[in-house]
């Protein structure tokens, strides 16, 4: 279904030979290299690409919001008027009133010190000269209602910290709509949101676009979002446009090899058959009626985990799925004794954590490896790769010299960081590695002691989709070879489906549903699980459209 306006074929925004070069302490670094595409009036255009592809820089250059160090050449024509080379004063007429922008992190985009009402009034005064008093109030209420934020009257008096992520993004959209822009640029508008909230916000954007005959340019890395909302798509890589076309055509018959690779790397729900049945035996991890509470008596407590039962068998990958605030991270931390457990039992290999002696606990920790979500922050920035991987071996196993060297070599080779072309990874510091490489180092460190249990907390959420595919492959290979059990914490059902044996679905600190992977994901028994599955956009425009209609 192409919206009627899109057929007019009049480019509202036309980008030609765009080149953005940043001056990074004297060195020129190319952010965008000869990008060219059109945004037609009334359509939704998705610009998709991985980090470093230049998609955000392209969006920023349209509004002239790049830092001083950037040099922009080429042409950006909006409604027939050239935008490049305009000074700030001239751009201000365009910003907000004709082109508006919304950002990834809605809470960071709002001013934390003023109320929603104040910020809406500010936006209205800036974009509609002459508006005053009661008009502002009425216009503000209208805006909040149009973004479906309930109880608008009361919301005007709220400050940003009183809103959830989804509510805040609605306010940001309302602010963007204040100037009744012709073009709305949305830079990763749902990346920071939970999947059910993402579905609502995408639905809202789609409706607003339709009702207001607005043109939308959405920047995203998520093929599911593209399939869900876009009419046309532009694929970028390393600052250049690789491919562009109608969304159905690009997804069904990508002309560039890169697009095909990118699509192949996206995990899809339901692409793997049921797992083989494993024999029982004593479970490695047994969690009974676990309760975790944060806070103290003075400030009040918050119950993050509320009576959760689960078990992990030896050699099994258990997927722990839930949205933010579901308690999934707290359960992972409780297993290593880093969460304030206020009730219930955690039994690891027959040892109750609560009654375990100090030395028993220390012994258990050595048998558990942990991989965190963000590899940029979870590795000591002052350690080389070698120091990072060898530390647990040297401290716990007392390995030294050539024995330690060989162990580290084998571990790095196992995660695909063996010496290549005579260049070793061992002496690099984390900042000299890419995100995927860092996460592989973190995985090597976590499996260094040959653990019985690996706790992986969203290990691929901070990575690009192609990198995620490689890291997941590495992970699966290691698991098959070393045979550790794994608690795989994730919000991404498709990733869990590709990797796990059993799945536990959490909501608000309680278990909603659990069982064999295909049973839960293909035939969910609970409404919440169904909602989760329905909310995750499927990376195929035709299938996604029929899912949406259903």
């Amino acid at each position: 279904m192409t919206s009627p306006a899109a057929r007019e074929q009049v480019p509202l925004l036309s980008v030609r030979d765009l080149r953005v070069v940043f001056d990074v302490s004297g060195r020129p670094v190319t952010g965008v290299d000869s990008a060219g595409f059109d945004v037609r009036a009334g359509e939704v255009l998705a610009v998709v690409g991985e980090s470093g592809s230049g998609k955000s820089v392209t969006a920023m250059s349209v509004l002239g919001l790049l830092p001083e160090t950037a040099t922009v050449t080429g042409s950006i024509r909006f409604d027939g008027v050239e935008l490049t080379g305009r000074d700030d004063r001239a751009m201000r007429v365009v910003r907000g009133r004709r082109i508006a922008m919304i950002f990834q992190d809605p809470l960071a985009a709002l001013n934390p010190t003023f109320t929603i009402g104040w910020q809406l009034a500010e936006a209205l005064r800036a974009t509609r000269p002459g508006i005053r008093g009661d008009q502002i109030r009425r216009a503000s209420l209208d805006l909040l209602e149009s973004v479906e934020l309930g109880d608008a009257e009361r919301r005007l008096r709220h400050c940003p910290h009183q809103l959830s992520g989804g509510q805040a993004q609605r306010v940001v959209i309302a602010l963007a709509l204040a100037g009744e822009p012709e073009l709305l640029i949305a830079d990763e508008p749902t990346t920071a949101l939970d999947v059910t909230v993402q579905a609502e916000v995408l639905g809202l954007l789609r409706r607003l676009q339709h009702e207001r005959r607005m043109t939308v340019m959405i920047i995203t890395h998520d093929m599911g979002v593209v399939a869900d909302i876009a009419d046309r798509v532009v694929v970028m890589r390393s600052g250049a446009v690789v491919e562009s076309g109608d969304v159905e055509q690009v997804f069904a018959r990508p002309s560039a090899a890169y697009t095909a690779d990118l699509l192949a790397a996206v995990p899809r729900l339901g692409s793997r058959g049921p797992a083989a049945e494993r024999d029982g035996g004593r479970p490695l991890v047994q969690v009974e009626a676990l309760t975790v509470e944060y806070g103290n008596l003075l400030r009040g407590t918050f119950r993050a985990v509320d009576g959760v039962d689960l078990r992990i068998d030896r050699g099994e990958i258990l997927g722990l799925v839930g949205e933010s605030g579901s308690g999934k991270t707290s359960i992972g931390r409780a297993l290593i004794g880093l969460a304030p457990v206020s009730g219930g039992r955690v039994v690891l290999d027959g040892i109750d954590l609560r009654s375990a002696s100090r030395s028993q606990r220390a012994g258990l920790r050595r048998r558990i490896g942990v991989v965190f979500q963000n590899p940029a922050t979870s590795i000591n920035p002052r350690y080389t790769v070698e120091q990072t991987v060898s530390e647990p071996l040297a401290v716990h196993r007392g390995l030294r010299g050539s024995e330690l060297d060989q162990r580290v070599d084998r571990l790095l080779a196992a995660v695909g960081l063996g010496p290549t072309a005579g260049r070793s990874w061992r002496q690099r510091y984390p900042h000299e590695l890419s995100g995927g490489q860092r996460q592989r180092v973190a995985i090597a460190r976590a499996v260094a002691l040959d653990p019985d249990l690996l706790i992986a907390d969203e290990p691929t959420s901070a990575l690009d989709v192609s990198v995620q595919a490689v890291v997941l492959d590495t992970f699966r290979e290691l698991q098959e070879r070393l045979g550790f059990a794994c608690l795989f914490v994730s919000h991404d059902l498709a990733v869990v489906d590709e990797l796990c044996d059993r799945v536990v679905v959490l909501q608000g600190g309680r278990v909603v549903e659990s069982g064999e992977r295909t049973a839960v994901l293909a035939d969910p028994q609970q409404d919440y699980t169904r909602q989760l599955i329905a909310s995750a956009p499927y990376p195929d425009p035709v299938i996604q459209r029929s899912r949406r209609a259903a």
Partner: protein
Amino acid sequence: MAELTEVVVPDLATDPEDVRRPFRGLVRRPGFVVPAVLVLVLMIIALLPGPVAGLFGHGDPTVCDLGSSGDPPRAGHPFGFDIQGCDLYANVVYGTRSSLAVGVLTTVLALALALVIGLVAGLIGGWADFLLSRLTDIFLGFPFLLGAIVVLNSVGQRSVLTVSMTLALFGWPTMARLVRGSVRSVRGADYVLAAHTMGLGWWRVVTRYILPGAVAPVLVVATITVGGVIVAESSLTYLGIGLQAPAISWGLQLSDASDQFQNAPHLLWFPSLFLAVTVLSIISLGDTLRAALDPKQRS
């Protein structure tokens, strides 16, 4: 998906050794070489004032001739004479030792105190943090010079050591706050949590994970403090409660010179020049040191 699995390898510096050895790459930078040479020269002067002072043939700072009082520079006396008719060059050279000693000793004492207090407050938190933070606030609220005046007035003998200890007593709070703040921010970092999950010992986590990140900012402040302390010692001495004659220090010389600035400006110029060069060199060395300690800024 062969294209995607290809690993992007960032180019290393041409000589990889440069990047690995923290200090090697720095040696060739003018920002390091110039202040390092200057500080080295100053240290030689401080350690061996005799031979350096004797370079122009009048090396004894205590040989004075009132007949030359306040005379401008002339052959054999490159800096001229002070108000007592003593050779100013010899005096400035001999003053280097006490000024540098006060600066370095004070900073080391204050830094040690700040590290201990900041670490304890930042690591333990809770009541320890509350008590130590309020203590820090009390000392911060104390006017630095006024406090030093009160303490030094009640100290009998005012030597380099007592002056340094007094200055350190009022100099640690800013650094302690800085250490506490950075310890608290590093303590909650993911990589410290990761270290705990690896079951590493408490001491190892503190020394390898928390301290290196927390110390870098305070080192820069410490080097600036060295300069500040030398100036503070000069001010105290000028007020008559720093080092006492017959001690020789730049502060004493500046204090004497301030009365005579109209008729003998060289008395002020030369000690000030030494003071300014010392402070600048140490501060720029501190900045280089910070860069050297941060792996991201090497190469």
